[in-house]
C-alpha cells in the first residue's frame, strides 16, 4: 500500500482553485520532488498534506499506518521574532512533541532523540546557542533536525536550500539523500531542477494543472522537463506564465 495517495485533488483558498485535478502516489522510500513556478501552489499542496488547509475537492489518503501528525515538516519561511529567546536544543526538542501523547513533559527517550538528530546534522556544538543568532544555513539544519524529531518516516521539505551558499546547498542535498537512503520518505519542493532530477526518484511538476508526474529520468526526457531544465540552466525563470503571482509572495505570512 502506498504511503500517500492523492486523487482528483483540487486546492485553493476561499473556494478559488489554485491547482486542479492532482493525482499522484508516494510510496515508502520514495524521494519526490515538487517543481513549478512561483505561486503555482507547491506550498499549498504541502499544507494540504499536513492538514493545514482543506482541499476544495478530492481526497488525500494515508496508508501504511502513517498518521497525519507523524510527518516531519520544514516550512518555507519560519517567521521567528527577531528577539525570540530559544536555544537550538529547545527548538530541536520541540519537534518531539507529537510523540508525547498526553504527557505534558518530555521523556528521556525524547531528549536522546533530539541529541541524536543534532549529532546527525552536525549541530551538536550549537546546542546552547540562541537560534536567532545563527546563520541561515545553521538555522535550516536546526529546523531539519526538528523535523526529523517529529518523524522518522516522512519528511516534507519546502524549499530547504533557499538562501544557502553553493557548498552548504550541496551538503544539504547530500544530507537529504542520505536520510532518504536510510529509509525516510522525502517530499521536497525545489526550484533547482538539475539537482532535483539528480537526487529525486520522482518529480511532480505543477502549474494550474499538473503538468507531469513520474520518475526523474522520464521527466528529463519529457518536453516540459527539457524546457524547464534548460530555463534553469540559463537562469531564466517562469517558462510558461500560467498563474504566476510572484508579487504575492512577500505579503504572505
Amino acid at each position: 500500500m502506498s504511503l500517500i495517495k492523492c486523487e482528483k485533488l483540487t486546492l485553493g483558498y476561499d473556494g478559488r482553485a489554485i491547482v486542479e485535478n492532482l493525482n499522484f502516489v508516494v510510496n515508502a522510500g520514495n524521494y519526490l520532488c515538487i517543481v513549478g513556478e512561483n505561486g503555482s501552489g507547491k506550498s499549498t499542496l504541502m499544507k494540504a498534506l499536513l492538514g493545514l488547509c482543506k482541499p476544495i475537492s478530492g481526497s488525500i489518503t494515508f496508508g501504511d499506518g502513517l498518521k497525519k501528525n507523524g510527518i516531519g515538516y520544514l516550512p518555507q519561511q519560519t517567521v521567528v521574532q527577531r528577539d525570540f529567546p530559544a536555544s537550538v536544543y529547545e527548538v530541536v526538542l520541540s519537534g518531539c512533541l507529537n510523540s508525547c501523547g498526553f504527557s505534558p513533559f518530555f521523556a528521556q527517550k525524547h531528549r536522546a532523540m533530539a541529541r541524536k538528530n543534532m549529532e546527525l546534522l552536525g549541530i551538536t556544538k550549537l546546542a546552547g546557542r540562541c537560534y536567532r543568532e545563527l546563520s541561515g544555513g545553521q538555522q535550516q539544519r536546526v529546523l531539519l533536525a526538528r523535523a526529523l524529531c517529529a518523524s522518522s518516516r516522512l519528511l516534507l521539505l519546502d524549499e530547504p536550500v533557499t538562501g544557502l551558499d553553493p557548498k552548504i546547498t550541496h551538503d544539504m542535498y547530500s544530507l537529504i539523500s542520505k536520510l532518504n537512503k536510510s529509509g525516510i520518505t522525502v517530499i521536497m519542493i525545489s526550484h533547482d531542477i538539475s539537482a532535483a532530477a539528480g537526487n529525486a526518484s520522482h518529480i511532480l511538476h505543477i502549474s494550474h494543472t499538473p503538468l507531469f508526474f513520474g520518475t526523474s529520468s522520464d521527466y528529463l526526457q519529457s518536453d516540459i522537463g527539457k524546457k524547464f531544465a534548460a530555463a534553469d540552466v540559463n537562469g531564466v525563470a517562469g517558462v510558461n506564465g500560467v498563474g504566476a503571482e510572484t508579487a504575492n509572495r512577500g505579503t504572505r505570512k
Binding site: 499544507k47 499536513l50 492538514g51 493545514l52 498518521k67 497525519k68 501528525n69 510527518i71 516531519g72 515538516y73 516550512p75 519560519t78 521567528v80 521574532q81 528577539d83 525570540f84 529567546p85 530559544a86 536555544s87 529547545e90 527548538v91 520541540s94 519537534g95 512533541l97 507529537n98 508525547c100 505534558p104 513533559f105 518530555f106 546552547g128 546557542r129 540562541c130 543568532e133 526538528r146 517529529a150 518523524s151 505570512k253
Partner: protein, 287 residues
Amino acid sequence: MIDKLIYYYSNYPTIRYSTVVLALVSLCAALLGVTLVLKRFSMIGDGLSHVAFGATSIATAASFTPMYIALPFTTVAAVLLLRRRVGAKIQGDSAIAMLSAGSLAFGYIVLNLFPSSSSNVSGDACSSLFGSASILGIKRSDVIICAILAISVLAVFIFFYNRIFAVTFDESFASATGTNAGFYNTLIAVITGIVIVTAMNMVGALLISALITFPALSAMRVFRTFKGVMICSACISVACSLIGTIVCLLASTPVGPTIAIANILAFGIFSLTGWITRGRTAKNTNQ
C-alpha cells in the same frame, strides 16, 4: 525599620495574605508576559484591563462582587482579541485601542450615573485604575479568589509549558505535527483574562502592563533560552513584588505604582547587565 515590618506582619493577617497573593499574581503575569511579548501582544494587558474596568463599574453600580462580572467579560474579550485571524478587517492593535477606549468611556459613565453606596465617584474610579491606595485596602475575599486563580494559572503553565513554547515559537509547525494550536491560543487568551482581572484588583487597571511586560523584557536582556527567560522573569517579578510591598508598607506609598517602579528599576539593572555581558562575550569571540 525591621521592627515596623515585624509589627505589621504579626498584627495584620491581611498584610500577610496580600503579600503572598501579590507575589503569586506577579508570578503568573510574568510567565504569561513572556508569551504575550513574543507574540507581539504587549498592549493587550492595557486594553483588557480597561474592559475589566468597564465591567467592574457595571458590577459596582449593580452592587455585585466585581470579580464575577469582570472575569467573564474580560476573558471573552481576550479570546476575541487573541484568536483573531490574520487578515481580519481591523488590525489587532486598532482593535485593542477601540475596545479599551470604548470600555473606559462606558465604565466611567456608568460610575457617574449610578454611584455606589460610598457615592465617591472619583475615589472608585481612582482605585480601579491605580489600585488600592494602601496595601490594607485589599479585601480578604479578593485575596482568597486571587490565590485560587493564581495557583490554577500557575498549574496550567507548568503543565503545558512545552506546548506553549512550541505554539509561540512556530505555530504552523506545531499544528502540522498535531499540536492543537487553536486550543492553546484560546488557553493563553483565557489565562490572560484571568490574570488581568486578578491583577487589576491588586495593582489597578492602568498598571497591569508593567507586571506583564517588564519582567519578560528584563529577562530577555540577559538570557537567550526560553527556559532561562521564563525562570528569570518569574524571579524578577516575585522579587519586585516583594520589594514593592515592603516599600509601600514602610513609606505608605500606593501598592501598584510602587511595584511598577520596582520593575522599571529591575529593567534598568538587567539592561545594564546585558550590555556588559554581551560586550564581553563579543570581545571574547573576536580574540
